[in-house]
Symmetry: C2
Subunit: 718 residues, 2 copies
Amino acid sequence: MTTAELSVFFRPRGVAVIGASREPQKLGHGVVRNLLEYRYSGPIYPVNPRADEILGLKVFPSIADVPDPVDLAVIVVPARLVASELDACGQRGIKGVIVVSAGFREIGPEGEEKEAVLKQIAEQYNMHLIGPNCIGTIDGHTPLNTTFVVGMPRPGEIAFLSQSGAVAAAVIDWARGSGVGFSRIVSLGNQAGVTESQMLEAIGQDGVTRVIAAYMEGVSDGSEFLKAATRTALQTPVVVLKAGRGQSGARAIASHTGALAGDHVAYEAAFRRTGVLQAHTTEELFDWARALAWQPLPHGRRVAVLTNAGGAAILAVDAIEEAGLELSPLTEDTKTFLRQRVFAAASVNNPVDILAGSGPATYALCLDALLGDETVDAVVVIQAPQDWFAPISLAEVVGEVSTSQLGRQKPILAVIMGLASTSDATQVLHRRRVPNFAFPERVGSTLAAMWQRKQWLDALPIESQPVETPACDREMGKMTIEAGLEVLRQRDGKERGWMSPEQVDTLLAAYCIQTPSSGLAPSVEHAIPLAETMGYPVALKLAAEGVVHKTDVGGVALNITTSGQLKRTFKSLRKQASRYIAEDDIKGIYVQDMIRGEAELIVGIVRDPQFGPLVMVGTGGTQVEMKRDVAFELAPLTRKQAENMLDRTRSGHLLAGFRGSPPADRPAVIDTILQLAQIALDFPQITEIEINPLIVMKEGEGVRAVDSRVRLDKNGSL
Amino acid sequence: MTTAELSVFFRPRGVAVIGASREPQKLGHGVVRNLLEYRYSGPIYPVNPRADEILGLKVFPSIADVPDPVDLAVIVVPARLVASELDACGQRGIKGVIVVSAGFREIGPEGEEKEAVLKQIAEQYNMHLIGPNCIGTIDGHTPLNTTFVVGMPRPGEIAFLSQSGAVAAAVIDWARGSGVGFSRIVSLGNQAGVTESQMLEAIGQDGVTRVIAAYMEGVSDGSEFLKAATRTALQTPVVVLKAGRGQSGARAIASHTGALAGDHVAYEAAFRRTGVLQAHTTEELFDWARALAWQPLPHGRRVAVLTNAGGAAILAVDAIEEAGLELSPLTEDTKTFLRQRVFAAASVNNPVDILAGSGPATYALCLDALLGDETVDAVVVIQAPQDWFAPISLAEVVGEVSTSQLGRQKPILAVIMGLASTSDATQVLHRRRVPNFAFPERVGSTLAAMWQRKQWLDALPIESQPVETPACDREMGKMTIEAGLEVLRQRDGKERGWMSPEQVDTLLAAYCIQTPSSGLAPSVEHAIPLAETMGYPVALKLAAEGVVHKTDVGGVALNITTSGQLKRTFKSLRKQASRYIAEDDIKGIYVQDMIRGEAELIVGIVRDPQFGPLVMVGTGGTQVEMKRDVAFELAPLTRKQAENMLDRTRSGHLLAGFRGSPPADRPAVIDTILQLAQIALDFPQITEIEINPLIVMKEGEGVRAVDSRVRLDKNGSL
């Protein structure tokens, strides 16, 4: 499907409404009413075998009877009748169909079957299908409104894509009340045909949309989404409100639209990678959308605040700093210029407080000066309510400066505070493409989102080329995986998919990841010569089938320095193990070279059902789950992305040395992260890898994977 | 001052306006206009020597000429004239004065002097003074509006207290636009007379206010605030938006209203202790205020969500869970009841989704059932826009159930989504005291704030009695502090106030805090017998003046097991020290018993200028600042508060044992926290204490303060 084909939903030459009704409370009536009332200019064909006329329009008994031109049909009939109507549309040669009717995938297995039939019919006739279980589409420019929802937003530059019809309806109502304009609104429903990824890309290229806001519960295909979102975000900012972040939220999705809710960590990584900005509330979604649609991106994180009231400025400054931005220092030139134009008691330091007696002219001069200051990347203009000039005149001034600041290209956000006396000022600002906020706190996350997009765009030439990390010996890796799968098939899943420690060490070695020397001692008599060969101190680790986290069962002893200690510890470990583990499953005890390094990390891989291998790095040790100091990214990774992951964790930060501890071998950690990602990409049979701890040695001495686990999918093959 | 006396500002028998003006753009005109326009029913006396009549009112040449009754004067004259007018008010016997005029403390030293004069005059005549540099007061019930700001909110149950006139003006404008009612609004200005603490307490007892919302930049007196806020919050919920949370924010305060901005950590501890709820945005402030004013508190954290649309419910559920609350499981009885009354495709699990075809009757039945369910502590009712019933009818239903749920006393929050079509529904809900939110996300933090207040109230009988923690030997403690101060006075501050390690150990011993045995070895020859007496392994620590963080200069060596190792390490430490530290300052090296425990914590005290000793506990070691895993509380502490502090840190959590590590001596940590707080309370000369690491031994074996620092204020005395 080409994205151009989806334009049938926005600029059809004629629209049929199958299930059109004369009764005003029926949805099939509302759709016809909206097409008429919101002035769709092409022909409208109500279809209903039991009516002659609806709202003054001629009614056709079936879609087969509808004359040309007709590109789009909206189906609003009971679920059991949808398939035959869809088929009739196909025979009639209609290329776009919106199925509003509910009663499909969202109601369970029975509905799932019905939906599969729709999908099949649509494919058979090469039709584009939106829905089922949706509320339709709105195009603010054509204009075209195929929904039954009362009200139509004014035309604008923001598109809204929704996987919930209810949220789409609420946004339509909110848009009418707030006066924010929309280029298009699309309710996607169950996505039996057109997916969020296809629609995202089509809208991104439509020529009228300058930002896409989306309410998402899940993606239909992870790799499609990654491609579509990246391509779209390159041109058009995309802001997403991802619902179902917690456990119960995810359950609600499963029982609701049936969308497969992927793990939120994977979604966050996918959004970060594709340059999609993730809002946390509906208000934030549209705060960001307005700013991104209307204002240029900042070139740095330094913000100037211009205000007529200190209290209001402090709220803005708190929000700006909490969002990770900072205040511009301002140059001496700027301060001198300002000082000559404001009251003596005014503050010419940032925040610049021109006091309550200043009016639009002073604002104009100061705003211009701040935009011209090289230490300023963005300006927030605040007006607390005052008595001696109309807020609308400040709105005109800010709007004029914003549109005329040629060559400066710095974003301006307005905070004309209040509500009752400021609606006309807000209208003026929004007409001049300056977002206004009723309270100063909201500028913080908005500017941060703009700055995040700028950084993503700037990093692109590097980000787009993930490094290939060659294995030391890929053939050996492949053989090891084959051997692991073979064992699994024979053993019938007793290991729950975990490879043996020996196989794991071989696999890591094949990818140039060093492990400490180690040997299996079935009895204490075997252990002593092993320890003497590798030299004390050594560590002892229980070798038992089915035990993944050995410290949970007291199966690890570290720093054994003498043969006497070795003997005692061996026995006690063995005895401890017998309490918890069947004797058959205990294979002995590993004797391992005791590694001491500068830091203990955890690195790992899990395979997300939607987005593929998810790479993790963070603070290692036994308390990983308590500490939760980890970062995730999707594979493949660039070197820079791996570095960035490390920087996001406290332990990663500390590798550079802190308070007397020498710097650790950070480059070796980066290599290991990249190699792990490579293993996961090379072998899709691997579902999980974990190295914990990965001991990081001094600079130049590398890392050692002290304890590692690899899990295979038993049914996978090479 | 009694709080009853402050009622002069809200129910005066007559109001004089000094500086009343005929010119409409003057503030002195606006005040007279507002008194008239917003229907103050007592006599209004404009005072102006150069006018006869203003807005139809007789004008008096001076305050001395104003007849009885007159309780309140509003002064709106240039700063230089304020003092003499205030004096005239005193002579006239007026008891309440609001000084609107600016040009005082907020403009610097010159203004500070002028403000001191005002303070003195007010005290001389026993007058209550609000301001200067404020916008006055509004009483929604009297009614009385002494501000010059256009617009008056409708009467209600929320009071708003503001240290910024601009924020107060913005709230007045927002209140008019949103229809939220206010009992009173007070702009406090520079607080030369009436402080935020006094006003808080007065409003809390006024009989009409059910919740107090406040914009605060700082408190005028920490201990007054602690008392006033606790007394007030016992009866009336208090919600605060504290501005100046970050660095630059605090600077903006300093250059603005001159309020002393205390450290934000201390404010957070003060709010937590006094039951004051801290909002993060203006919107949150009033979201919480409405819910606290109108709805009962939840008795637990389990929330039921009733919705006609799945997508909207997911947004609510995400917010509820992210705020630390959870979804009610619902009883089987409830589910059975619901199942019989909703569509087959509806979900009777929480969130209960009755689907788009359900109307107000179904909502009424389901809402009643959920309120009656024992697993439900609060209900969120969501209505996404739909076509077949008017939102206002749902508002009536929810309002009716809310007011009639006798004996159930569970909070209900409404989310009638949208804006354009829902304003009448919102009006109805607010009249019936059910807060409505345009989007579902806002219920999360609102319910969490209500639950936080409930927990604070429930904990009160315990919380209000901090434990006295007797010293083992207070007299010894006192002597040690005296000795420390004496040394400081002699040495002239070379130690920057730090006590010697020997003094610190004595002080801790006096308060029953164990330290490892330790001895100072000037040379290696002294070190060996010391180590042999205490037994290997030992630790070595540089003893040098002026070195606070020894690991920064490589001045610590741990785990020395033999005399050979001791000799080598001693020399290398000594050599290392010579590189950084003047030979005169190196006193030798401490030999210390090597303590190995289950966990390393940090515990400490800093003295906040406003709120006194602030106690800290958290993850110890060399990386404290990177890890930032610490909790703060104000002293004195109850045992429960100390436990709660520990629970808020990851390390505190881990003391109970995790993944194979044995449980550590948590009670001993609590004792140490309480003892440290006691030391700080006993000796106000101590400005800082830090124990890092505090090694926590196995259960029953106590703790050891391995490395400790105490700083004294040189000018303090016992």
